[in-house]
Amino acid sequence: MAETEPVDVLKAENEKPRQFGTGYKLIGKDYPTNDLVAKVTGRAKYAEDFRAEGMLFCRLVLSPMPHARVKSIRAEKALAMPGVKAILTPAEVPGHADYINDNGTRIKADKWSELALADEPMYQGEPILAVAAVDELTCAEAIEKIEIEMEPLPFATDPLESLRPGSSNAREEGNVWVRPDSSRGPEKLAVLKWTEEDFAAEKEGRMPMGHAPDEWSYGDVDGGFKNAALVLDETFLTPDVSHQCLEPRTTMAYWQNGKLFLYTGTQSTFQTVAAIARWMHMDEDKIVFISEYTGGGFGSKITGALTLVIPALLSKKLNAPVMMRVSREEEHFIGRARPGIRARTKIGFAKDGRITAVDMFLVSDAGSYGSGGDGGSCGSIASLLYQPPAMRWRNVTMATNTPPRSAQSAPGGMQAIAIMEPILAKAARQLGVDQVALRRANCPEGKAEYGPPNREGRRAYVTSCFLKQALDLGAEQFKWRERVAQQPKRVGSKVRGLGVALSCFHGGSTGFDGLIVITPQGRVQIQSGIGNLGTEALIDVHRAAAEVLDVPWDACDIVWGDTSKHFPYTCASGGSQTVHAMTRAAHAVGLECVQRLKEVAAKTLGGQPDGYEVANLRVFRKGGGPGLSFAEAARQAIKLGGIYDGHDVNPDVNKATKQSVAALAGQGLVASAKDKYPHDGDSYSYLACFAEVETDVETGVYRIVDYLGYADVGTVLHPAALGGQILGRSTLGIGHAIGQKWVIDPQYGVTVAERFYQNKPPTILDVPVNMKWNALNIPDPETPVGARGCGEPPVGGGCASILNALSDALGDNIFQRAPVNADTILTSLEAGRPMQDPLIAHI
């Protein structure tokens, strides 16, 4: 427990890995999760699987232009068609408004933000109109009859081009996002153009660097370069990659008794209600949100998707249920993507490979809405993962007329690692230092600091980091040394290459609530407001409550997926926070349950609560004696009322939890609690990633022979689920290395790669048939169960270990951008230099 061990004396190197499940009955053990049979029999219902009596369908009309103004819409002919029920125009969508967040803070309306339908579409594919009818073919026929007059407006799809003198801007108001007072306050759009002199570096194939609105630094950067044995100055471009959730953001909605019932996929059942309320301008208590299963999110469905208001509004207008199915093409446009970042990075190295200074300059593409270009996170992750003693970070976040970006698994972290790692690999070769040794020399450890100093001059730091152990044990398991020594590297036209990469990302938040009902049937009913993305965090985190209560898992029922069932204040499953945040909340409510059970027993059977203990679904006197079964205790709790059955509520919990407790009052022993455990540093998770590739220099084709991700994620909660996360998100990263990207026609600003076959995520044949993972299982000292999240941390390492293996096989003159495909390799090998331009976007 955190409070028993002073965190500042943590000696990272003394911590030893331990077997999964050590010291626990449930935690660290594999078990079949409660949702598996429904999934494997086809009974699990995703949004499109729900039906409602008299359900209508709606379809979207998307902008054919990257930037335009809708001047008029004439729909009379369409509306006169049999079966056509209504259209929905941008004017009918609620506009931007202030809102109150979880903590009661008022967030001012952002006039730049996106609405579900646009009268000034900012990208090709942006929804501008919706049509509802009895079926989709009727919708489609109606759409053909609608006359829309549009005025094309200037547009920009390439962020660097939009910085050139005389170039066009994404919006009338500007092309670059600036923060008025460097870090706080809402971002504003401004016009930024660099000079022709700024662009001079372009001729040498290096990224030009002009004015950058965002900047921070720490340490003696110039001194670091002066004292370096080697300084590398590299240009690199990371790809824009769509989330491509297999389930599109389909939504069904209907209204009953003034309440909106809405069905769609989400990364947070609990938090999506507030988002719907905000987007619809309605009260949260008038919304019932159902999301039992979600077919992938990866950051694109953190609170569902904005377009969910379209069927909700049409349904209200028509007083009938409306299903909006989203096609694969539509999903490409509205389904979000990772911002591509072009970077110029200068790194100084000492002889032993230790980094002396980093100077990182980024131009990121935030797309058509919002200022989230990932540049900030890119800088802080680079400073954490490689621990440069001095670093300068500069960043330009550009607006472009391309589909909207959002967080995608390890936003900024993935780009940082893909930008930094190839430079580290090159440095190791030039310095004659082993790749693993060079990473070890720069590896964070313990309560590592990162980022720039704050106003008080202090740098942020993490809770704990044992990445060196993961790197050492990973190298051993991967047989790194043996593989490096293996000769020859080339056999015929095939060349082997080895890559190692460090990786990390956020791994947890704090301050959420848990809620449990012990029913008169003696069941432990756990209310879970987590979204069901299939990572099984939805269910796994509650093992912490069951462990504390010392109950068998089959006595627990998890209630999820429908907000009319009443959930506690719950984090969104983004930023890999769930396992950390919600095991804390589960642990807290487990202890609360134990305490209330003891009190109920003492009130019923006499004595003091401390004289009782809880185990095996009973509360009984210590050392034997009379007791109550959970069923009896629940019935007693109902008799006692007050705090015991939910008629009174734990004052610590969030307002939303209080409402849920009130709704569940009288149904048994109702316990709620807030996570108030101490927490000093910021929670991050880490991996060491290893890969071997085999390239054919005659064809340029390569295959990944082997892969290992070795994780430092604190206590392992559920091994099988963790393995899925490590290898699944590694493969998401690998997609960025081996083939995924956008292609946009710069002349007309239209997308030419919008389907799976044009922008294919890795298939089962693109990765080794037996990828491997492992984890240290060293508990995080600042959280009760010791567990942190692992959704995002592997992504950068997955990508960069492949890039590093490729440069190991083929040398440093092959690529300056990802992905690296067969063409890249063949043409660059022939020319002896990277043949794909590192600066042009979306090619």
Binding site: L36, T138, Y293, G723
Partner: protein
Amino acid sequence: MPEMEEPKTSESQAQQITRRRFILGVIAGGAVVSAASYKILAPGGRGRTWGGERLITLNVNGKPRRVEAMKQETLAWTLRYKLGLTGTKLGCDRAECGSCTVLIDDVPYYSCSVLTNTVRGRKVVTIEGLAADDGKLHPVQQAVVDEQGFQCAFCMPGFVMSAVGYLKKNPNPTREEMAQGLSGNLCRCQDYTKILDAMMRGAETMRRA
């Protein structure tokens, strides 16, 4: 797109794009924005009569199912929207992702790309038809449960049907062969190693049975 007037472009525009040039660009780029990607028709005459709807009998999961189908109707749509078998998923509707895979006479097919009227007289098996009547899971399903296979599981029915179909052809595959057998299915959670673990375990159970 509906007809539009020649747009008035502002003076400040860096690149003047006329409507004609724009449309040429759209054609060159291969981008077509329209509503015609998914089309669902209203069942039972709520909407217009599109013609060609015929009452046919299909054999689905071992039972005769009578259904009115149009000649252009896909099997995925008939299963999902007329027979209520929503376990078959639509991830792309264009034979790219495999989420809609079903068995037709024991061979895996993308049901989004099979016309319903072509499967008359053939045996269609969907994910709902794999378990025994008493609820006992098919060995491949049971193996998925045992191995905690898949994450979001939107692709799971398609993968399971592909595996069951492939194992009928090759009951004793290597891991590499199984991967080939499943290569028509995409998993965006990319949980491929665990998927292969599950399918190989299912294959082994079937061999031992």
